[in-house]
């Protein structure tokens, strides 16, 4: 029996894709380049997409990494930065040579795939954008090699210019060659901190010291202050950092112009969430990671390679592990595409549970009510814990006296998305990059529950903040334009509901579609 047709629904509307690609690789770090090169070598047509160089405006809001306003004006010259990045990633040459369609300075801002609430798509679609326009490509398979991003952890003064993250520092010094600092203090004496110190020393940047709340920090050639907490940051911009033992003793200041927060980094799992791939919290792999069978994600045709699949001290020290996983992902994708290849088996990542590092940091620093947690939305610790509305709203303090995270937890398991909407923590322009992990940890700590028992707050498109003008720069298909309505197209919904539905009233008679508005 033929179904009727709802002209204002998504049915029969086309969203153009510029081309359909057998394999897309997201991220041109070691894993992504290795994956793209291997897949091309095996005969697949491959597009490799990487967002760098990103717009300097994004760097200014710590997207995708915490750049801490320590990037030179050179980053405003995107052409020059493109050359710089190609020079900083010599392995890209192999991708060019292998015939990979390499797209640098292109954001992968969305992926739309079939799911329980989305059946109408012609096939899997990837949203791409540069600084002027946004477009879609279709894809058959995708290797996500999106790397890791910075772990934001609060301390008094972490919202000042000059506080950056380990990935931001690595990008500023290595990828962009645009770091403006001269003297740094590194927070975190683990593998991420060690990598920062090594990179700084290789670049001739002075390292005044390394600070960690935990008693760790062997293998450093610079002074390590283990068992210290941050008591403040000197200057309106970073001029130094004040530290002390938890009991207040041993207070000293370390001079620096930049503080690099390198307690840890976090696998970048946003694309997996958009794709509907299952994720789990695994402290030993750095937090939320995709559920995988080898390199295969829970959704067929999606593969995870490199840091976004999970980190360990070994992966932070040795890019060979990421490269191997990239090659394995390429071979798996090729095999699934019907090519005759031998698949690699990868050794699982091993290492200590990294979750306690976050908790220890927050236990040491979440001691004052005014500690800034969400910087974009200016949510201090007390407002998060008290589930208070944002400061621009007037509210009855007496009513809220009996409301906090614990009373909310008594009504049902705490969900970070609910906290976002109530307090606005994580709702800002950085898209929650600087606070989502620590909000999760704080919620778990308040409820005396495992960190992973707090559900992962959802990721939504666009995965990068894109201007309206960029998203608007595409050619819409005529059937989308002609049958556009703000809300369904049910004519009787728009006539008085105390009167019977008028005779003969239809979508066509009411809106007369096709007339140019």
């Amino acid at each position: 029996m033929p179904a009727g047709f709802d002209p204002t629904s998504i049915a029969r509307k086309s969203y153009p894709v510029e081309e359909t690609i057998p394999l897309v690789v997201i991220g041109a770090g070691p894993a992504g380049v290795a994956a793209a090169v291997e897949a091309a070598r095996l005969g697949m047509r491959v597009m490799l997409v990487d967002e760098h160089p990103v717009a300097s405006a994004l760097m200014g809001i710590d997207v995708p990494w915490m750049f801490g306003e320590r990037m030179s004006a050179a980053v405003q010259n995107q052409g020059r930065m493109l050359e710089q990045i190609v020079a900083a990633r010599p392995d890209l040459q192999a991708a060019f040579d292998a015939g990979v369609d390499v797209r640098l300075g292109v954001y992968a801002w969305s992926a739309f795939v079939e799911g329980p609430t989305s059946k109408a798509l012609p096939g899997p679609m990837l949203g791409l954008a540069d600084e002027t326009r946004a477009w879609f490509v279709g894809f058959e398979r995708m290797i996500v090699a999106a790397g890791a991003r910075d772990l934001g952890l609060a301390f008094q003064g972490w919202d000042k210019p000059g506080v950056m993250g380990a990935r931001g520092f690595g990008g500023a010094v290595g990828l962009y060659g645009a770091f403006t600092g001269r003297r740094i203090v590194v927070l975190g004496a683990g593998a991420a901190g060690r990598a920062v110190v090594a990179q700084a020393q290789a670049a001739g940047i002075e390292v005044t010291g390394v600070v960690d709340v935990a008693a760790r920090g062997a293998q450093f050639t610079v002074p390590v202050h283990a068992g210290y907490r941050i008591t403040g940051v000197l200057g309106a911009e970073v001029e130094g950092i004040a530290i002390a033992r938890p009991d207040g003793s041993g207070a000293i200041t370390l001079a620096c112009d930049t503080i690099v927060l390198a307690v840890d980094v976090v696998p970048t799992v946003e694309m997996f969430d958009l794709l509907g791939c299952a994720t789990i919290f695994d402290g030993a792999r750095g937090g939320w990671v995709p559920v995988t069978n080898g390199v295969r994600c829970s959704r067929p045709g999606i593969y995870a390679a490199g840091d976004c699949a999970g980190i360990s001290d070994a992966t932070l020290a040795d890019p060979a592990i990421a490269i191997a996983s990239g090659i394995a992902a390429a071979r798996a994708a090729a095999a699934d595409a019907g090519l005759s290849v031998t698949e690699d088996s990868l050794a699982p990542l091993t290492g200590p549970d990294r979750d306690p590092w976050r908790r220890d940091w927050l236990t040491a620093h979440a001691t004052s009510a005014d500690l800034p947690i969400c910087r974009c939305e200016e949510v201090p610790l007390e407002d998060l814990v008290g589930v208070r509305p944002p400061r621009y709203l007037a509210y009855d303090a007496e009513k809220f006296a009996n409301r906090d995270l614990r009373t909310l937890a008594a009504d049902g398991p705490v969900n970070q998305d609910q906290i976002k909407r109530l307090t606005r923590a994580g709702m800002g322009a950085c898209q929650g990059r600087r606070c989502r992990e620590q909000v999760q940890s704080l919620l778990a700590m308040q409820g005396n529950q495992a960190t992973g028992s707090v559900p992962m707050p959802s990721y939504r498109a666009p995965l990068r903040p894109l201007p309206l003008s960029v998203l608007a720069a595409f050619e819409e298909s005529p059937e989308v334009k002609e049958n556009w309505t703000a809300w369904f197209g049910i004519a009787a919904q728009w006539t008085p509901h105390w009167e019977p539905v008028p005779e003969g009233l239809t979508y066509e008679t009411r809106w007369n579609p096709g007339v140019e508005e």
Partner: protein
């Protein structure tokens, strides 16, 4: 206090009903919610409170300015709206809606381009004009939903989250209990305000409640300087500037979906979100640089005529069925009060609900959803 009303659904309509049942009727109330209160479309929508076609309109307008005080928690309610027509035709369609409000005694002022841009400086010099409504408004859906829930609790109401209805106990033509996966809740009356899940729940009672579920989506930008009337929309998108300054707008093609069980799957976005952004860009070209930072989607239900069902049935005679047919948030202060009256008095004394009975669909053909095309559609299946 013995009379006990079970409200199924912790969305805008159900929570408001529970609030009024405690606040005004002062009866016992239990809200049964399968997930978290305000989690679905009730907590994520355009936030509009301007529904002149509804018999609840006057009550909606009367109540919204009182809600912060009544609930005790902020809703971010803001009065008035600006409707923008980029073309003469868009403006004419806006004026059709305004006429319906004017007939009910509400006022609105037409704006030429210059006065429009004074109120909404994001608009271009080429916009045909606009209308400033001296009625209507908008609020923050999530904050409002939590306010309802907290107010219900403060008034002694019981909210059971993460509780799924599995069936009903009937005796003597009445529902005597609501069966859930957490045990049976005895009751004297039941209000079903379960949005897209109404059809399934009705079927458990042998009733056909014709609603179809669809997914709709919105986008939100980074904060911008506040404009005088944040409830400014037009050009095929509805929405508002939040009090924080974000532009939150939605519209365009919806997607009809299947809901096979009591769960609501996570509603995803689609390429339609880019078309929404395109229309916001056209509406507000002066802030073309504003970055979209988020999008979201929600699942809503529609009845065949797009109008609510607000009805106390005769069999079972203590059952009240409530669907707002995809337009529930803004009307919720009034719909909840009407439903409170249906549950405790049997009739609503402040609004004409005569056209909103379930029985108007008695003669609907069994395949109405197919006939209307209100069913999932697949490009891939169509191609194959």
């Amino acid at each position: 206090m013995t009379y006990h009303v079970a409200v199924i659904g912790g969305g805008a309509t159900g929570l408001s009903t529970a609030f009024w049942l405690r606040h005004e009727a002062k009866v016992r109330v239990t809200v049964i919610e399968k997930g978290i209160v305000g989690w679905e479309a009730s907590g994520r929508n355009g936030g509009g409170a301007t529904h002149a076609v509804s018999p609840l309109f006057a009550e909606e307008q009367r109540l919204w300015p009182l809600m912060d005080e009544l609930l005790g928690y902020p809703t971010e309610y803001q009065r008035q709206r600006v409707r923008i027509g980029l073309s003469r035709r868009q403006l004419d369609l806006i004026l059709e809606g305004v006429t319906i409000a004017r007939r009910q005694g509400f006022t609105a002022h037409e704006l030429d381009n210059k006065s429009l841009r004074e109120l909404v400086p994001f608009v271009s010099e080429t916009a045909a004009g606009g209308v400033l409504l001296e009625y209507g408004g908008h609020a923050n859906p999530q904050r409002t939903l939590q306010a309802y829930a907290w107010a219900v609790q403060d008034l002694g109401g019981d909210i059971r989250q993460h509780t799924t209805v599995t069936g009903f106990d009937l005796a003597g033509g009445k529902i005597t209990g609501v069966k859930t996966d957490q045990g049976t809740i005895g009751c004297d009356a039941v209000v079903i305000a379960a949005g897209p899940h109404l059809a399934q729940l009705g079927a458990q009672l042998g009733l056909r409640i014709p609603v179809a579920a669809a997914r709709a989506e919105m986008v939100v930008t980074e904060p911008l300087p506040l404009i005088r009337f944040g409830g400014a929309d037009g050009n095929g998108v509805y929405g508002r500037q939040t009090l924080r300054g974000n532009l939150a707008y939605g519209g365009g093609a919806h997607e009809w979906i299947d809901l096979p069980d009591a769960k609501t799957p996570k509603p995803v976005n689609s390429p339609v979100m880019q078309s929404v952004a395109k229309r916001v860009f056209e509406l507000f070209p002066k802030v073309a640089h504003a970055r979209v930072i988020r999008s979201w989607a929600g699942v809503i239900e529609n009845t065949p005529d797009g109008r609510p069902i607000l009805d106390r049935l005769t069999g079972p005679d203590n059952l009240i069925v409530a669907s707002m047919s995809s337009v529930g948030f803004g009307l919720s202060p009034a719909s909840g009060r009407a439903l409170m009256q249906l549950a405790t008095k049997g009739a609503c004394d402040f609004a004409n609900l005569s056209q909103l009975k379930l029985s108007r669909f008695d003669t609907l053909p069994p395949d109405w959803q197919q006939d209307a095309g209100w069913v999932p559609w697949s490009a891939q299946e169509t191609a194959a």
